[in-house]
């Protein structure tokens, strides 16, 4: 019965169906299973408690560090602390003595989120800074406990980082969202096609997205490095060159320009690396 051949391959073969199987079989799935990253959360709450306990311990350690830094600066500070945003004349003088104006890079959530869950990073980019004690303005908290601290450094350093409050989640939700957006960007870029000069692909959307993600990536990478989160720091470091390259492409790049970046994306398996992070990030919490 020919009807049976379509249903379960039994009976007399239908030549049209056989032909279709032969033609379409070239598209059949062949890929191997991906590696299993980590075990998913079980249905009971044991892993959640562990994650919460780890987060609390980390919060206590960071809080103790922040208090000890503040205590130290209070003892050593020569200037009175500013009250509610009032600038003191001495602070203005001190600001004038800085070798270069500090660059302030704030995360997108920093100024808007209530409740103190924000990190603000202040970096100086001065390579010409003299190798001597330097004072630099540190992160300024923007909530109702507005304060300004002065940290005196004995070594000349390029970047001075201070954290006000740190949102402790184990896996930072901002990093997770950022990584997911980066995956989308890289996939979208891989899909863009420029087969010839006449039909060069328009990647203005990818460029714009890449630029936004690049600033975010820099901020997140520095946050991670500051809190000693080396794996996240390295992951974001590995992502950054792709964001830079895509952001710097012309709006309608040539096929060769795009191919070079696509090949690197494939070769370094950056998308898979980001995917693994996303999976791991979701597991401890749920």
């Amino acid at each position: 019965m020919k009807g049976d051949y379509l249903w379960d391959g039994s009976g007399e073969p239908d030549p049209d169906i056989e032909n279709l199987e032969r033609v379409l079989g070239t598209l059949r799935h062949k890929a191997a299973a991906p590696a299993l990253p980590v075990a998913p959360a079980k249905r009971h709450a044991r892993l959640n408690w562990f994650a919460i306990a780890a987060a609390l311990i980390l919060a206590v350690v960071v809080g103790a560090w922040a208090i000890s830094m503040r205590h130290q600066s209070e003892q050593e500070a020569a200037l009175p602390l500013a009250q509610n945003g009032e600038e003191s004349k001495q602070e203005e003088k001190l600001q004038g003595s800085l070798p270069e104006a500090p660059q302030r890079i704030e995360g997108p959530a920093a100024a808007t989120e209530a409740g103190g869950e924000k990190s603000v990073i202040l970096a100086t980019n001065s390579k010409a800074a003299p190798k001597r004690s330097a004072r630099a303005w540190v992160a300024r908290d923007t909530d109702e406990h507005d304060r300004r601290e002065v940290i005196e450094e004995d070594q000349g350093i390029d970047e001075i980082v201070a954290l006000s409050n740190i949102a402790v989640t184990g896996f930072d939700s901002e990093v997770t969202k950022h990584i997911e957006k980066a995956q989308l960007l890289l996939r979208s870029f891989k899909n863009a096609r420029a087969e010839n000069d006449r039909r060069a692909a328009d990647i203005s959307y990818e460029k714009r997205m890449s630029k936004d993600l690049l600033y975010q990536n820099i901020w997140l990478r520095r946050s991670a490095e500051a809190r000693g989160d080396l794996p996240v720091g390295e992951l974001l470091s590995s992502l950054e060159p792709y964001l830079i390259d895509i952001a710097n492409l012309p709006a309608k790049p040539s096929k060769d320009d795009m191919l070079a970046i696509k090949e690197r994306i494939e070769k370094k398996e950056i998308v898979a690396t980001l995917q693994v992070y996303s999976v791991q990030a979701a597991n401890p919490i749920y």
Partner: protein, 193 residues
Amino acid sequence: MSGELTLVIPQTESLLAQPVNEVSEGASLIEAVRGGDQEAFGRLYTLYAPMVHGILLARVPWRDVDDLVQDVFLTAFRRLNTLRDDNAFGGWIAMIARNRAMDYHRRAREVEELNENIPLASQSEAEAEAAKVLEVIRELPEAYRETLILRLVEGMTGPEIAERTGLTPTSVRVNLHRGMKLLREKLGMEEVS
């Protein structure tokens, strides 16, 4: 005339969408995967990847399907603790695959559409021919499209399609036959009576 009566019992299809032994194997694999068993995950992948691949192939460009298959499985793995009934894994991961396909189209930016039917230098003749037929199948109604791809591309039988997707065998049989009839018309094949 003899008083003998012959009782004729019509053959009916099993009402079960899934044989019991396959259901048990799937459920035990899922439990093992939850425990981090890589081999169990590999086995689960072997069982369900063709179905996921076929569902995605019915909806997104075939060159991107392999990446998305991996994505679907990693997503399913991540959300495994939300699966209430391990026996419903097939239908559940099929839903994830369809949602993923929708996300793909939602997020893909508008470009000059490079129709898969346009032969590319890197495309073999076999691939080009397959892509053309696939385009025709994609024009069919969704229910037929998916079932036909699972049968003709992935090489799954009707019972396997029913078992993996959670559809009843009757639904699958109807989709296959009606879908095949439409496909013959579109491809200009003569219908086999």
